[in-house]
C-alpha cells in the first residue's frame, strides 16, 4: 500500500533521513521505533510532502506521490495525527473535527462525528470547548479523531502516547487496535513506548540516525536482545506490563 524507497530528507544542511526504505501492506499495523532525533517524525511528514524528499521515491497504492503537494497527498487517503498534536487552539472540538472532514464526503459527516464520539466519549462532552483548553490526553484523542474524519485508508500516528497518564496510554492503544480491526484502517505508528507498540504491531521498523536499522515482526523485535537493551529495559517495561494488566 505504501512504498518508501531510498528516501533522503534535509532541513537546510542537516540530513534527517539517509535513504529510508519502508513498506506497508494493506490492513497492517506497522510501528516505527527509535530514539529521539532518529528521524521518525521527519519520515511521517515526508510521506505527506512537507518537508519534501530530496531523493528517493514514495508511492501510495502504486501511485508516485513524491512530488505531490500535501493537500493532494492526503486526499488520496492518508491522514496524520502529527507530533505535538497540533490541535487548532481557537477552534472548538467540533470545529476541529469538521476541518478534519474537509476532504470527506459531506453525507458521511454525521455518522463520522458519532463514530469519533463513540471512540472518545470525552470529546462529545467537550465538543463546544476550544481546542486550546483541552488537556494533553484530550488533545491527543482529538488529534486522532480529527485524522479519522477524512476516512483515511492509511493513518499515520506520531507518538500518540507521549505525555499521557498510564491509564490513558492503555486506552489509546486499545482504540488504535479497534480502528485497525473493526474499520480496516492501515496504521503506521511511531512510538517511544516501544513495548506497547511492538506488542500491538504486526511488523516493526527500528530507526537510528536517519537509517532503518532493523525490521521484523513485533514479536521478533520484542525478543531481540539488542532491542531489549536499547529500547525495552529499565523502568518502561515494568510499568507497561502493569498497564496492560489494567486495560
Amino acid at each position: 500500500m505504501l512504498e518508501v524507497t531510498g528516501v533522503e530528507t534535509f532541513y537546510g544542511n542537516i540530513q534527517a533521513l539517509r535513504g529510508v526504505d519502508v513498506s506497508i501492506q494493506q490492513g497492517e499495523i506497522v510501528t516505527l521505533i527509535g530514539a529521539n532525533g532518529a528521524g521518525k517524525s521527519t519520515l511521517l511528514m515526508t510521506i505527506c510532502g512537507n518537508p519534501r524528499a530530496a531523493s528517493g521515491r514514495i508511492a501510495f497504492e502504486e501511485r508516485d506521490i513524491t512530488t505531490l503537494p500535501t493537500y493532494e497527498i492526503v486526499r488520496l487517503g492518508i491522514a496524520q495525527s502529527p507530533e505535538g498534536r497540533r490541535i487548532f487552539p481557537r477552534m472548538t472540538v467540533l470545529e476541529n473535527l469538521q476541518i478534519g472532514a474537509t476532504i470527506a464526503e459531506e453525507t458521511y459527516y454525521e455518522e463520522d462525528v458519532q463514530r469519533v464520539f463513540k471512540l472518545f466519549p470525552l470529546l462529545c462532552e467537550r465538543q463546544h470547548q476550544r481546542g486550546g483548553t483541552l488537556s494533553g490526553g484530550e488533545q491527543q484523542m482529538l488529534a486522532i479523531g480529527r485524522a479519522l474524519m477524512s476516512r483515511p485508508k492509511l493513518l499515520l500516528l506520531d507518538e500518540p502516547s507521549l505525555g499521557l497518564a498510564p491509564r490513558l496510554v492503555a486506552q489509546i492503544f486499545e482504540v488504535i487496535k479497534e480502528i485497525n480491526e473493526s474499520e480496516g484502517v492501515t496504521i503506521f505508528l511511531v512510538e517511544q513506548n516501544a513495548y506497547h507498540a511492538l506488542r500491538l504491531a504486526h511488523r516493526a521498523y527500528v530507526m537510528a540516525n536517519g537509517n532503518i536499522l532493523l525490521t521484523g515482526t513485533g514479536q521478533e523485535l520484542l525478543e531481540n536482545d539488542e532491542i531489549r537493551a536499547a529500547y525495552l529495559e529499565g523502568g518502561a517495561r515494568k510499568t507497561d506490563v502493569g498497564q496492560s494488566g489494567n486495560a
Binding site: V74, Q80, R86, P89, E95
Partner: protein, 308 residues
C-alpha cells in the same frame, strides 16, 4: 447650536458613515494579516480601485440610458465587487505568493511597491484630475429639529448603513459558520496542519484576498456616493485610517476591525465637529496610541496564550 444634542447626533451620523468605510476596509487588513501575518499595504489602493470601477460603471450605465437608481446601484455594486476582486486576487498571485517564505521585510517592501504601482497605474489610465459624479441618491427625512437646525438622515446614509450591516453579517457568518471560513481560520492558526488535513492553503489565501477586496470595493462605492468625487490618491489616507482601525480593534479580529472602524469614524467626525478639522487625524492616532499602551493587542484582539 454647538452644545445641543441635535448637533451631536448630526456629527455622529457622519461619523458612522465614515466608520462604515473604514470598517469595511479594515476587515481586509485584518483578514490578510490573520492568514499570512503580513500587512497588505496595497489594500488602500484596492479600495481606490473599487471607487474607480464604481464611477466608470455609473458613467457607462448613464451612457446606456439606464437611470432607474435601484437597478443602477445593484449593477454597479456587482460590477465593482467582481472587478475589484480580480485585482485583489491578482495582487496576491503576482506580488505576495512568490514571497510567502521570504523575510518579512521583502514582503513589506513589495506591499509598498504595489501600492505605489497601483496608484500610478490608475493615474495613467484615468488621469490625475478629480473625477466627480452627480448625486445618485438624494433626499432624506428630518429626524430632529432645534430651531433652525435640522438633523436629517439621508436616504444615502440609510443605504450605506444597511449595506454595511448586511455585508458584515454575511461575512461574519461566512467566517464563523461555513467550511470556507473554517478553512480560513485553520490556515490562520496552523497552516501546515491545515494542509495535512487536505485544506488547499494557496486557494484559501487567494479567497481571503478576494473577500478583503470585495469589502474594500463596497467601501470605495460608498466613498464615491458619499463624497461625489474621487481621485487616484484617496486610497492612501483611507488605507492608513482603516489600518489604524484594524490595529485599534485588534489586528486579526474581524469584529475588532468593525468596532475599530466605527470608533475611528466617530472620533474623526466628532473631533471635526467640535474642535478643528485640521487635527482630526492626530486625534484618531492619539487614541490608537493610548489604547495600545493599555491594551497592546487592541480592543478585541486576543493574545496568543492558548497556542499549544
Amino acid at each position: 447650536m454647538l452644545g445641543t444634542f441635535e448637533y451631536f447626533v448630526d456629527q455622529a451620523i457622519n461619523g458612522v458613515t465614515l466608520g462604515a468605510i473604514y470598517g469595511l476596509v479594515a476587515i481586509g487588513y485584518t483578514l490578510v494579516y490573520g492568514i499570512i501575518g503580513m500587512i497588505n499595504f496595497a489594500h488602500g489602493e484596492i479600495f481606490m480601485i473599487g471607487a474607480f470601477v464604481s464611477i466608470i460603471a455609473f458613467l457607462t450605465l448613464g451612457l446606456l440610458g439606464l437611470t432607474w437608481v435601484p437597478l443602477a446601484l445593484l449593477l454597479v455594486l456587482i460590477a465593482t465587487m467582481m472587478l475589484t476582486a480580480v485585482y485583489g486576487w491578482t495582487l496576491e498571485r503576482v506580488a505576495y505568493r512568490p514571497l510567502r517564505r521570504s523575510p518579512r521585510l521583502a514582503a513589506l517592501i513589495t506591499a509598498i511597491g504595489m501600492s505605489i504601482f497601483l496608484q500610478n497605474y490608475v493615474q495613467l489610465l484615468q488621469g490625475a484630475r478629480n473625477k466627480p459624479l452627480q448625486q445618485v441618491i438624494s433626499g432624506g427625512f428630518e429626524i430632529m429639529r432645534e430651531g433652525d437646525y435640522v438633523v436629517t438622515l439621508s436616504y444615502l446614509q440609510i443605504f450605506i448603513l444597511l449595506l454595511t450591516i448586511v455585508l458584515m453579517v454575511v461575512f461574519t457568518l461566512v467566517i464563523g459558520r461555513t467550511s470556507l471560513g473554517r478553512q480560513q481560520r485553520s490556515c490562520e492558526q496552523d497552516r501546515d496542519m491545515a494542509a495535512l488535513l487536505g485544506v488547499n492553503v494557496d486557494r484559501t489565501i487567494s479567497l481571503t484576498f478576494v473577500m478583503g477586496a470585495v469589502l474594500a470595493s463596497v467601501a470605495g462605492l460608498i466613498f464615491l456616493l458619499n463624497y461625489g468625487v474621487i481621485d487616484f490618491y484617496i486610497g492612501f489616507l483611507a488605507g492608513i485610517k482603516a489600518f489604524t482601525a484594524a490595529v485599534l480593534g485588534g489586528i486579526g479580529s474581524v469584529p475588532g476591525a468593525m468596532l475599530g472602524g466605527l470608533l475611528i469614524g466617530l472620533i474623526e467626525a466628532l473631533w471635526s465637529g467640535y474642535f478643528t478639522v485640521e487635527y482630526k487625524d492626530v486625534a484618531a492616532f492619539s487614541i490608537l496610541i493610548l489604547v495600545l499602551i493599555f491594551r497592546p493587542t487592541g480592543l478585541l484582539g486576543t493574545p496568543d496564550i492558548e497556542k499549544v
